[in-house]
Symmetry: C2
Subunit: 382 residues, 2 copies
């Protein structure tokens, strides 16, 4: 298994999970996430070790080795030689710039996100085609590709009737940031590569992932990152961080925006299911990967409740939405595909919130030190 | 008016047309089309002058000046400073790598086409947002963004009912080459920029353009390019070139692939109509810009007939389709928007073919010299 983005939040947790399951795991990462979070003046609330330290701690604790290559997916020779030499059964591509606000900072961050994400994916597709055409590409997309249409959201494709004729077509995408659009562009490119080169791929439209732990993250030496700043932190993460430092939780706007959510360990369960149930040659399939749907207001309320149970004095306030997005909307996405293959969610948001808050309370000073990085800037409107 | 891609087939003809109509015209081009055609070992069948020679010839013949800047749209400072200093009423963005086979040559050409096209468009959008938000962007897309679904093709958006609910959504795109996908990516990005920044844009899904002349191209000094090689030449152009040198016309596969077509001078009429009937602020509209629908076999038959009338001995043969595309398909795209604004086609394919063949017969030796560049390579399948 080749994991692109092995140093990231999901990539590190997945690398350990697959190695522990007995797979030979090779990771690649250019460490850009660490640099990009530093660039905006923040850091991970949970202190994370260097890749070498983590690999060594994992080997000591679990007796399993993971091979790691520092390299950039936008360099075709790096990607081709890696894939040609390992001929992996599967590539899990998590190696993209994942922040919507970061992509909206200015033209340079917009263009960087486009070239990093789109070119990295094109390089992987070409390298598979040229050197390892039977490899299964599991690509991380996002539920945000769909936006919030006034229709049920199918998994990638839908049968429609229009002016008396029928066809099965890709569901229209209406992304809400440059970052989300790069994932839409990737989806089109992967679908096309599967068609012309008979590659196989699972394009994962993932919901928001939360949580600090998997069954293997038993020691702080194995922590995966936890971003809480306005650029790289999700709403849940920011609320948890705000709760820990007695800062009001600040949902954007009315807080009625709904999204799909999934716990980190359940995301890894889903990715493992996708890997162990590969599509056929030439098949491009789409999985909507989330467990529960919550509004931003629901999240704040839950963080408030769990925070108070842990003795924190939590308040909820509201600020203007810095994004351009629908604050009231229909949201009914399908997610049957993974469940049909055996996905059983193990942890709800309520289960994880207590764990997350406790982990964060032990590192309150790291959040306190960067508290001014939690407040949003109006990247969408400026 | 700012014309991006002013040295290209359409760009040069449009620059003259708008200048002649009394507009102040500024053109920008990095001359990449000339380099890219040289790279694949070909040239324009009609000899074209350098930009400086053309500008001077146009001034001498028509008494109108066009300002030209040699510059690259992927350089943000170039684009921003140009737009900030001219604050054009409109930008016509024709400055993209336009060849599907070129984008399919290898990973480098695929990535080049992506970065050139997608980044160039993003730079224009950001420069408009930052320095000239009332400018109208007329962007050249392609009918090929839609592919060949088994449905009528609307102009960009359609009202659909799905599982009992209704919405107006972008029509799904199913492009057939990396080049075509870059245009899809652009369309998503432009739609999003209009939404968040209240820009206005017309996204032109153009059919295949043919023809060597407009009313202003009265002298060989003003010729616009005519590519006939397998990489940059369209099917019509290759058939005309083959007819002129007594080489069999070679439609790909059964020749039943249908596409929309429009004469060069009618394309310019359409772009002028779009410019003179701009959308509202925040509006992103899509025009399907073509006149007639033909199959590739129809084109070959028409070139054969007109060639014989001009004394050429033309034969039609067939070769395997080097592309991955549907050879038999439904094709019924709408094109009412431009007609509602006054578009009246002036020249049919039959009208133009005689003119094109005569122009090419005068430069038979240039086609003969590059005859080995007309045969296709299987870029899609290798």
């Amino acid at each position: 298994m080749l994991i692109a983005g092995a140093d990231g939040y999901l990539g590190w947790a997945l690398s350990m999970a697959l190695a522990s399951r007995g797979y030979e795991v090779v990771g690649i990462d250019n460490l850009s996430r660490r640099r990009n979070v530093e660039e905006i003046g923040s850091w991970s609330a949970l202190p994370i070790k260097t890749m070498l330290q983590r690999l060594s701690a994992f080997r000591n604790l679990y007796g399993k080795s993971i091979t790691f290559v520092e390299g950039d997916l936008t360099n075709y020779v790096t990607v081709r030689d890696l894939i040609a030499s390992y001929k992996p059964t599967a590539i899990v591509h998590l190696g993209e710039q994942p922040s919507a606000p970061y992509s909206m900072i200015d033209v340079n961050h917009c263009v960087y996100t486009h070239t990093n994400n789109v070119v990295g994916t094109l390089n992987i597709l070409y390298a598979m085609h040229e050197t390892s055409p039977d490899t299964h590409l599991v690509k991380l997309g996002t539920m945000g590709e769909y936006g919030t249409p006034n229709l049920d959201i199918p998994e990638g494709f839908f049968e429609i009737e229009y002016k008396g004729r029928k066809d099965r077509l890709p569901f229209p995408r209406m992304a809400g940031s440059w970052y989300h659009w790069t994932k839409v562009h990737d989806s089109g490119n992967i679908m096309f590569a599967c068609k012309i080169w008979k590659l196989k791929s699972t394009d994962v439209m993932q919901g928001v992932v939360y949580g600090t732990r998997t069954d293997l993250i038993t020691s702080p030496e194995l922590f995966t990152r936890f971003d809480f700043d306005e650029v790289f932190g999700t709403a849940i993460n920011r609320f948890c961080a705000q709760a820990v430092i007695d800062y009001p939780l600040l949902p954007y706007g009315k807080g009625h925006q709904k999204r799909g959510f999934i716990a980190l360990r359940d995301s890894i369960q889903c990715l493992t299911i996708a890997l162990e149930n590969p599509p056929e040659k030439s098949e491009y399939r789409v999985f909507n990967q989330f467990d529960e749907v919550y509004s931003v207001g629901d999240l704040a309320e839950r963080v408030e409740r769990h925070g108070r149970e842990l003795g924190l004095s939590v308040k909820v306030d509201h600020i203007d939405d810095p994004r351009v997005e629908a604050e009231e909307h229909y949201y009914h996405p399908d997610s049957a595909n993974l469940r049909k293959l055996g996905f059983k969610p193990t942890h709800t948001l309520d289960d994880e919130l207590e764990i997350m808050l406790k982990d964060l309370m032990a590192h309150k000073e790291r959040i306190q030190a960067k508290r001014e990085r939690i407040m949003p800037k109006p990247y969408w409107k400026r």
